[in-house]
Symmetry: C2
Subunit: 202 residues, 2 copies
């Protein structure tokens, strides 16, 4: 659960800036003396509710963003290949993540990063439970359980709850972070979140 | 004019993130071995063409952005008081800036920052030519010429040209920067623009 010792990290597996943030957040949390609470959400639902199109479909801004994804990844020393198809439905990966998190796995962050890399570096189809199972197995996790999470009412409900929680906290995009109730939107706000953790409100 | 030795800085005097960028850009340009070309534009025209509302009017994102303006300013050690009314028509300030720039004044950056501070720190009404004249006079500039730029066909045309130029370069928000033809959107991309100036494309 969210505590004063966590940084709550809301992300969507279909969000390029979430991928970049996922690669950075453990180091930043450690510098801030916190642990990361991984909170997968579904941006599509949020965007529909707000009546806005996905970023890449916005005139001018969409075209720019595709360039910015690559450049921002490289800026942080990360590989990036724009996936096709994009965006994708990230329910299966999100439910597997919640299953790992709520089962107390110490490898949830590792799994999240492996799934992001599978999609944004290797171009794998992370909507498929077999792909998620293989990623999990390679990390020494239970691949069968990871694949099964997608169809399990428990993790379906957990994902619904995660999305509702994010909406209640006014999360309108991803990545989104909370430090002691203060919300920060975007990979490019991790520097501000870090200062907030280290020296308090400013 | 735009050259390989400039960083082209597109901004609107009504844009909080443009204010923050204006306070940072001279130091960053110097680190990158460049000079700043000040290019005032009118975001309202761009937004209308794109069919999008001003940032602060977007549900959830608008409310967040007002918090983020203050926090981002403080993060960089800058004062910030959300002005009322907001946003404002920035034509008069933009035309005065173009007059100074195209007359070869060495104080254009100084004037730009003084106008931004008048609006975002002191809450002054920078739509008024008398206010702009006083700001100019305090910097040792010709206040009468600064006030007169607003009604002068030459600077009206110059501003139209600046807006058209920005649209041709696909500027869809502010601040927006160009380094050797590469576009960077947002105050939070100045770090990437700096690396581009220092080490080339990445």
């Amino acid at each position: 659960m969210s505590t004063s010792k966590t940084i709550d990290f809301y992300f969507d597996f279909s969000s390029p800036y979430s991928y970049i943030a996922a690669e950075r957040i453990e180091a930043i949390a450690a510098q801030g003396g916190r642990t990361v609470r991984y909170c997968p959400v579904l941006l599509g639902i949020v965007f529909k509710q707000m009546g806005i199109p996905p970023l890449v479909h916005i005139p001018l801004k969409g075209e720019y963003s595709i360039r910015d994804f690559v450049r921002s990844a490289h800026f942080y020393g990360l590989a990036f290949t724009f996936p096709d198809p994009f965006p994708i439905a990230s329910q299966a990966a999100a439910r597997a993540t919640l299953m790992l998190r709520d089962s107390g796995s110490s490898q949830v962050g590792e799994f999240v990063r492996a799934v992001f890399r599978a999609f944004f570096v290797k171009g794998q189809d992370i909507t498929q439970t077999e792909v998620l199972a293989r990623i999990g197995t390679q990390l020494g996790l239970d691949g069968t359980a990871i694949a099964a999470a997608h169809g399990d009412e428990v993790w379906k409900t957990a994902l619904k709850t995660s999305v509702e929680e994010s909406m209640a906290r006014k999360v309108f995009g991803a990545p989104f972070f909370f430090v002691d109730g203060e919300g920060f939107w975007g990979n490019d706000r991790l520097d501000q979140a870090l200062r907030w953790m280290q020296t308090g409100p400013f």
